[in-house]
């Protein structure tokens, strides 16, 4: 509908009707933003013409904090980055420090760490799938998933005593060995989880409304995904065959000892990302079953390197020397020789990397966290351009932005 007056909109062929353009602000606190994110959009009718993503609302300066704390003191901070999969962050961080120190951990520790990673992947995917579905109106799918996620947290609680902020790993080992009944609890959870997950699959995957809302939405081609440094499930949904679990067998985890497949999508839209994540959860369950069979039930969990091993509590309480050692260890930390390393693991969202530059001494000179969310979030603008405002929510849910990891 065009007006014949000489008004502002006369020379604008894209204007669908008079005064159709408006600006809308979503966030920073909005249920569909999954954290404190802000998206400002210019709408033409309901179509998004341009968007600006803003972040930094949860910026706590973790990288600066790391430069002023010993290597051990930073472990609890890693929980607060991707708080949906804190076990994974713990593992990735201590592995990065171990790479700079060039120490090797025992086989049993490697197995337990890999189990940690896979449990973290399952709960992170359950959050992403569940919240992505609830944004599109599928509430029961979300509740089924969240119930199972709580059960997974109970398993994690058995492992390390905490549910959300685990701080389970230590440089050169683990905080404590898993209790005897941990593997039984894990197996029990996997046995109940699998049928529930199949039920979830039946509820949503072939649902007509869900498919209509997600197929062809937020599509990213292979080339675009490469240019925007997509990693993890979103890259695989865009048909990029990359998975650091399979591609880095020498990384310090034991993925080379288990069988699993890497699912690939075709179109890179929201539906493909959903399917890839669903399949990855199944593969993770498969990996967890194999690992709980193969994991050595006894044996050391600490490395041989005396520099980083925390003195045993038994000795600390009963001998003066050990107590002094304990105090020195925790007050002053251990020296890391000069050098640098970049360690990446396959996190639930993609490549989770820690780049540590050491100049000697107990604190890093520079610690950089390569957060997958950071690179994903920047693709939101090209992803939603030309689509409807309701598709923004679907796209944002599918790339799984975790604000704690995004802002650090």
């Amino acid at each position: 509908m065009k007006t014949e007056n000489t008004d502002l909109h006369l020379n604008d062929p894209d204007e669908i009707f008079e005064d159709a353009r408006q600006y809308m602000n979503i966030g920073p606190s909005h249920p569909a933003t999954h954290g404190t994110l802000r998206v400002m959009v210019r709408l033409n009718g309901e179509t998004i013409e341009k968007s600006i993503s803003e972040m930094g609302y949860l910026h706590r300066g973790k990288e600066k904090i790391a430069e002023h704390n010993t290597y051990h003191k930073f472990i609890p901070h890693t929980d607060r980055m991707n708080y949906c999969s804190s076990l994974m962050n713990n593992v990735a961080y201590v592995m990065a420090v171990e790479k700079v120190l060039q120490i090797e951990v025992p086989e049993r520790t490697k197995y337990i760490r890999t189990i940690c990673c896979e449990i973290a992947r399952v709960i992170d995917h359950l959050i992403c799938l569940g919240i992505g579905a609830v944004d599109l109106g599928a509430f029961s799918f979300f509740l089924y998933g969240f119930h199972q996620r709580e059960e997974a947290y109970t398993v994690i609680e058995k492992l390390c005593g905490a549910r959300l902020t685990t701080s389970y790993t230590r440089v050169g080992g683990l905080a404590m060995p898993p209790p005897d009944d941990f593997f039984l609890a894990l197996k029990k959870w996997l046995d109940t989880f699998e049928p529930v997950f199949n039920e979830m699959d039946n509820l949503l995957t072939e649902n007509k409304i869900f498919k209509d809302r997600t197929i062809g939405i937020g599509a990213f081609t292979k080339e675009q995904a490469m240019a925007y440094s997509f990693t993890g499930p979103c890259a695989r949904a865009s048909n990029i065959n990359i998975d650091l679990r399979r591609d880095q067998p020498e990384s310090g985890l034991v993925y080379d000892k288990v069988d699993f497949e890497v699912p690939l999508g075709k179109n890179g839209d929201v539906y493909d990302r959903y399917l890839v994540r669903m399949e990855e959860v199944r593969q993770s369950v498969r990996i967890l079953r194999q690992l709980s069979e193969k994991c050595p039930k006894t044996g050391p969990i600490w490395c041989d390197d005396k520099r980083v091993v925390i003195p045993e509590k038994e000795r600390v309480y009963n001998s003066m020397e050990a107590m002094i050692h304990h105090f020195k260890f925790f007050m002053e930390g251990f020296d890391v020789p000069p050098g640098e390393a970049y360690t990446a693991v396959e996190g639930p969202n993609g490549e989770l990397g820690f780049y540590i530059v050491s100049r000697g001494g107990p604190m890093p000179w520079r610690l950089r966290v390569r957060a997958p969310s950071f690179y994903m979030y920047q693709s939101l603008d090209p992803m939603i351009k030309g689509q409807k405002i309701a598709d923004l929510v679907a796209s944002l849910g599918s790339i799984n932005i975790i604000a704690g990891e995004l802002d650090r």
């Binding site: 210019r42 925007y228 950089r368 690179y375």
Partner: protein, 186 residues
């Protein structure tokens, strides 16, 4: 143990070949080559040639470092890594074909601009904004070099070594909205 040693030896061969190829193609652009604690090559290049080096690593057959894993910087205020310039900008590249990593580094003095990598990878956009925000390194030719994590009114760059870590800055009213950005392209 031997398995890991074999895998590492194979990886090392690849690294050697890649470094040799890069040095051959780039010539005098490469200042020096180092290895990190995991034997990953670190290639120091001249500041004005950094885009050429990145393109070379990305597009050359046999190298194919298609992924910009990360772009960051650190403050080399003591000059421990020898060279001219206070800041070291670090590009982490990953090749999905050969499954190897490569680190390209370049140096910049305070106030000097580094050529933007957004012409090679779009992903460098926000990463460069973050480096600018926290470290104060400028990028020449960047499409939209604004602060990203901190408030636009923030003074200083917190990841510099001379910035005290408890130097908070509080703002009582919200950050102004960059409205002109939304109006662009109308």
């Amino acid at each position: 143990m031997t398995e890991t040693a074999n895998a590492n030896a194979k990886l090392n061969e690849k690294y050697d070949a890649h470094v040799a190829r890069l040095q051959e193609l780039l010539g005098a652009t490469v200042i020096k080559v180092e290895r990190d604690r995991q034997n990953v090559p670190i290639v120091w290049v001249k500041r004005d040639q950094v885009v050429a080096a990145l393109r070379c690593a990305k597009d050359t057959n046999g190298l194919e470092y298609h992924f910009l894993s990360d772009l960051t910087a650190y403050d080399d205020v003591d000059g421990v890594d020898e060279g001219q310039g206070r800041f070291v900008v670090v590009y982490q590249l990953y090749s999905p074909q050969s499954k190897t990593r490569l680190r390209i580094k370049t140096r910049a003095e305070d106030g000097q601009g580094v050529p933007t990598a957004t012409v090679v990878w779009e992903a460098a956009n926000w990463a460069e904004r973050e480096v600018f925000d926290l470290m104060g390194v400028k990028f020449d030719g960047h499409p939209d070099l604004r602060r990203i994590l901190l408030d636009v009114r923030w003074q200083g760059h917190p990841l510099r070594k001379d910035y005290h870590w408890r130097k908070y800055q509080l703002f009582n009213d919200p950050e102004p909205i960059p409205e002109h950005l939304l109006k662009e392209g109308l």
